[in-house]
Amino acid sequence: MKSKIGLMLKKELRETFRDKKSLSMMLIIPILIPLMVLGMSALFENQMKADENKYKTIGIAYEVDEVEKGILETLGIEAVYGEVEDLSEQYKNHEIDLYITKKDNAYTINGTNRTSTSYASALVENYIEAYKQYLQTDYLKDKDIDPDEVMNIVTLDRNITEEENFFSSYVTVYALLFIIMAITVSATYPATDTTAGEKERGTLETLLTFPIKSKDIIVGKFLSVSISAAITGFLGLLLMEGALYLSSNMFTIYEGVNLMLSPLNLVIVSLVILSFSLLISGLCIAIASKCKTFKEAQSALTPLNFISVFPGMIAFMMEVKSSRILSMIPFINVTTVFTDLTNGIVDWLNIALMFISTIVVIVIVLWLIIRQYKSEKVLFTN
């Protein structure tokens, strides 16, 4: 004899997979994730290149020789020559990105802590370094000394792998948060359909005459909505990994960074997707089953779409660090775990606290729905 929960689940899944709207919510939204990853990466790359090329107008308050002119030209610096007072005025008016003064052989970079000044400053340092090297080499040659013997006694190579890359963690966390949002949207439709929709269509009365305990009805509905939500989540994760792989090969901003999730992170993220699917499905069913009509349920569930993502998004933007307490707060704990993982941190206690708090919320929500389905109020809200 088949279990009643199994029969309910089979019936619910049949209805969900045969409903075009539920199916499209489940499968189409994840397709937006790779588009978002690639789009954000392209945007960052263009911005970076624009920043590098944009801030190169330098004021020079001294006379330059031919060598300096050559270096300035090679580095693409647009030199503006003038008196200190004039250049200072031009800097204030944002006409130049910084200006350089010189006393004897001492150069000074002048400006404030504007972003444009810091980009231009890096260019000026290169110019000064190149000119210094030229003068030193020239001096040594005059003294009949091989410059290589003096200047390259000590060499320096950079062999630093970037553990934290601003762009990679930004794109990965946002893609993961987008998966969370997709799960919420995907759970909303079947949850509405299986509760308020069933009430509106008149099939709920039929269902309540069947010899099935309300517990079995609810668990069947809950599992069916959770499966739909989890399918969206895992499809989103798969497409996100594909998009990250493509991005790491396409964009220079990710050079030296392993953009894709490690196998361990992939397992943890999969578990987070699963637990979040269960949580959001329970909440959606709890809210929608209190509504009389499909439309009313959809309106009631709209805030949940925002609540599921915005607290976490704000926490990420404010660079809130993970903590024991935050790990127990639904919705925010997902973001803190994702942020930790993308920064290479695996805090098992925080992860465990997130799962435990999620399970507690799911149990409470299910208990409340089962109680509601035992009462005739589920049929006659008012």
């Binding site: 088949k2 029969l7 045969r18 009365e205 309540l208 010899p211 099935i212 005739e376």
Partner: protein
């Protein structure tokens, strides 16, 4: 045997934006239904027929009173009672995205029909109700009459002892109504107990062994159709009903 005693149902009605009012849809209904009988529950819209049948089917909880099926109650033996029941109303909807076959199979499994009997039962019911041509079609593609036949079929699949039929012919054409009436007669001959609510008095007169005339939540007369006609000195249940209502008004 089904035994209903002093059944009352209170609802709270919103009368205006800030005020609510209590009202009783059933005000103490008692009756018994023996095996193999068709009991007609007759009355106009709003008389309390559907509330009464929903309480008997276990969908609504009575405010007061008791319902016993062969000594069992919904409170203690909910699942056993529901297995012996079939509830069908004019408003009963079925799952449109399933095919008739899938629905019947699902119902048979829910009612725990032995696995080796399921196919045979579906085949027999399909033949009896002439469903062969659309058995594997989705319900959403069926006509109203065909859908109602599927609805009857899902009531038959677990071979229940009690049928609760609430305005089952409401809104149906003459052919579809006749299918339901034939089905009721057929089940009666098998010894099944049938509670049949309708506001079509002629229909009730033809098939009911006993009638409960209900108005404003109370039974105003109980008896066989002939007894009621004799009591009211009328020739049909329709006139009898009007006479009973008028009598009630005069008494008031």
């Amino acid at each position: 045997m089904l035994k209903v005693e002093n059944l009352k149902k209170k609802f709270i009605k919103q009368t205006s934006k800030n005020s609510k009012e209590e009202f009783y849809a059933n005000k103490g209904i008692s009756f018994e239904a023996s095996d193999g009988k068709i009991i007609g529950i007759l009355g106009p819209n709003g008389a309390g027929k559907s509330t009464l049948l929903r309480m008997i089917a276990g969908i609504l909880e009575p405010t007061e009173g008791s319902i016993e099926y062969d000594g069992m109650t919904h409170e203690k033996d909910e699942i056993v009672i529901k297995k012996s029941l079939a509830f069908l109303s004019g408003n009963t909807k079925i799952y449109n995205s399933l095919s008739a076959y899938e629905l019947l199979r699902m119902c048979a499994e829910i009612y725990e029909v032995p696995t080796n009997e399921i196919e045979k039962r579906i085949e027999n019911i399909s033949k009896t109700l002439e469903m062969d041509k659309f058995l594997y079609n989705r319900i959403e593609n069926l006509s109203t009459g065909q859908t109602q036949r599927v609805n009857i079929a899902r009531c038959l699949v677990h071979d229940p002892k009690y049928y609760i039929l609430d305005e089952a012919t409401s809104g149906l054409d003459i052919i579809s109504s006749q299918i339901i009436l034939d089905f009721i007669k057929g089940e009666k001959s098998k010894g099944k107990t049938i509670l049949y609510s309708t506001h079509y008095m002629e229909e009730a007169e033809n098939i009911c062994d006993e009638c409960l005339m209900i108005n404003e939540g109370v039974i105003i007369k109980r008896g066989t159709p002939d007894e009621i006609k004799e009591y009211t000195k009328t020739t049909n249940l329709r006139d009898a009903f009007f006479k009973l209502i008028e009598g009630g008004k005069n008494e008031k």
